[in-house]
């Protein structure tokens, strides 16, 4: 073997120096984005596995929590004033606190999604050409009013009190629904959740799809993160956005092929273990007195919110 070592490998490169004077490496937006997204998915998966250990609510039967989630989401949607939504938010905050979840991490995630899928989506409806009402925040002035399709654009464009209240209401509903869902997700092992959904007569085909997706998304994000790490280990210079886009586009086909092969392997493994198209459950224990008591307490609080 020794005599087959290529001559270039016998050349010792001159000792490098790690002097910091050559300017900063710019990480391309594409690369940063992909790595960050893969990291968030993976962390989300890990946290839901890890955080469901201590705390009172982690021990409550998953059926109670799924029922509570469905009931409370209806309550959140039925409430029509901001104050009630605020009370519900405070109640959910207390639940998160008593469940010993990491409050900052929890709310950072919830608020990020609520900002995009609640606030930003609803924001245009605050303008007076969509929601009529008392103009409280003028933004622009036109020479005259315009009529466009079904909209009437007044000479002064701005946000109305009614519009802003609507935006705040929708954002609060999204925050409450999201934090409730995350709270249940983080305090209930995924398998328990699937079992509870099965008890609630959710079709098997749907449960199989979400179970496989849940695992698959994790494997997929891990593959991307590892591949990014491997690329970093061989990357000596910075890469601009164009190059990063080209690299990413080139890798898509490869990742698609790799995941397709993985998918076939998983299916073969499932078939090998006697997979049929139904989910078999075992040992779903009886509910304890504390489960019933917690269920009754949560249900009563929900009713109370409905009445106020």
């Amino acid at each position: 073997m020794a005599n087959r070592i290529p001559s270039f490998l016998l050349n010792r490169p001159s000792p490098p120096s790690l002097k910091q004077d050559s300017g900063r490496v710019k990480v391309s937006l594409v690369e940063k984005g992909i790595n960050h997204l893969a990291g968030v998915i993976k962390r989300g998966y890990i946290y839901s596995e890890l955080l469901s250990k201590n705390g009172f609510f982690q021990k409550i039967d998953s059926r109670i929590k799924i029922f509570f989630l469905s009931f409370f989401i209806i309550v959140v949607s039925l409430k029509k004033d901001l104050l009630s939504e605020l009370y519900i938010s405070i109640f959910i905050f207390l639940l998160v606190l008593f469940s010993r979840l990491k409050v900052v991490t929890f709310y950072r995630r919830v608020l990020l999604f609520a900002f995009f899928f609640g606030f930003l989506i609803a924001l245009p409806s605050a303008f007076n050409f969509i929601t009529k009402g008392e103009l409280i925040l003028p933004v622009a002035k036109l020479s005259r009013p315009y009529d466009f399709w079904i909209y009437h654009v007044p000479a002064t464009i701005g946000m109305t009190k009614e519009g802003l209240l609507g935006v705040a209401m929708l954002t609060m509903r999204v925050i409450n629904s999201l934090s409730l869902s995350c709270w249940v997700l983080y305090t209930t092992p995924f398998l328990e959740m699937v079992r509870a959904l099965k008890i609630l007569k959710v079709p098997d085909s749907f449960l199989i799809i979400i179970s496989l997706c849940y695992k698959y998304i994790f494997i997929f994000s891990k593959t991307i993160e590892d591949m990014y790490l491997a690329k970093r280990s061989r990357m000596l210079t910075e890469e601009n956005n164009k190059k990063a886009r080209e690299w990413t586009a080139g890798r898509l086909a490869l990742i698609f092929r790799k995941t397709q092969l993985r998918c076939e392997e998983v299916f073969r493994a499932m078939t090998g273990r006697g997979f049929s198209d139904s989910i078999k459950l075992y040992g779903f224990g009886k509910m304890r007195a504390t489960d019933w008591a917690s269920g009754a307490a949560l249900f009563s609080i929900g009713l109370l919110f409905l009445l106020i």
Binding site: M1, A2, L9, L18, D226, R232, R234, M235
Partner: protein
């Protein structure tokens, strides 16, 4: 001997929840041949990834040629280039390491990153392919390779960059005996060519064959002991403590034997058991 890598009280945990390394002190000198051994989950790969600048320690310092390596220092263009040029990392899972369309592209990726001219890059790629007996695979995509071929390509993709330090994570894991033997010979040849090797493994026979200096990681993610190969592999108590060997009972005909089992040194029968 010049100190290339110095780890000072390094700790690392995943997601601030799962501890992987605890208070690690370790040095790698020029021309070293170091094997990091430990049971599954003891933190070998994490330690190697920290040495490769792919993860940054939660606590402690990682120094390369006396300069601290951190997320901040590797944001400097010059430092990044010097560092990556000097260290080649071979991943445990070759599938993640191979991200180019074909084997030839894999081998060319590094030299082109080094700004070598095209001719030299191709020369290096073909010389490495010849050394690894994978010339016939040059146009094959990585997902159409066997496990052994993938490992050879992964090692080749790093060798074409001619790094002075090679970090190899479980290099012989899951390979057939012939490929294992080939890789052991390759590692010995690279060592003789002056390369510094750092290997993470739980394969004690590999450590024995390489006659490496050994650092033992415990299941508590600490360095249990650093020593010469014979000293470490001869210490049954230590290897039992870190779960690299175990007590085993089996039957030969009517006789029941009890002995320490490691698939390497300690398959010695101690007489009749009951």
């Amino acid at each position: 001997m010049e100190k290339l890598i110095r780890l000072e009280r390094i700790s690392y945990s995943y997601y601030d929840q799962i501890p992987a390394l605890s208070e690690i002190d370790l040095e790698v000198v020029d021309g070293d041949n170091l094997a990091i051994i430990g049971a599954n989950g003891s933190g070998k790969s994490t330690l190697l990834q920290i040495m490769g600048g792919l993860r940054y320690p939660s606590k402690g310092k990682f120094l390369f040629r006396d300069a601290e390596v951190s997320e901040k220092s590797l944001r400097d263009k010059g430092s990044l280039k010097s560092f990556r040029k000097s260290l080649g990392y071979v991943f445990q899972d070759s599938d993640v390491q191979l991200f180019c369309p074909t084997v030839l592209d894999e081998l060319l990726y590094g030299p082109l990153q080094l700004d070598l001219d095209e001719k030299e890059a191709f020369d290096r790629a073909f010389e490495v392919m010849k050394m690894l007996n994978i010339e016939q695979l040059k146009n094959r995509p990585s997902y159409m390779l066997s496990g052994g071929e993938k490992k050879k390509v992964a090692i080749g993709s790093v060798l074409t960059m001619n790094p002075e330090i090679l970090l190899l994570d479980e290099p012989t894991n899951g390979l057939d005996p012939k490929t294992q033997c080939f890789l052991v010979e390759l590692m010995i040849a690279l060592k003789e060519a002056g390369k510094t090797l750092v290997i993470a493994t739980h394969d004690l026979s590999l450590v024995g064959e390489l006659q490496a200096r050994v650092a033992v990681l415990s299941e508590e993610h600490r360095i249990e002991k650093v020593g010469e190969v014979n000293e470490i592999l001869g210490d049954q108590d230590l290897l039992l403590r870190v779960n690299l060997i175990h007590e085993h009972i089996h039957r030969h005909g009517e006789t029941v034997h009890r002995h320490i089992h490691s698939h390497y040194l300690f398959h010695r029968h101690e007489g009749n058991g009951s």
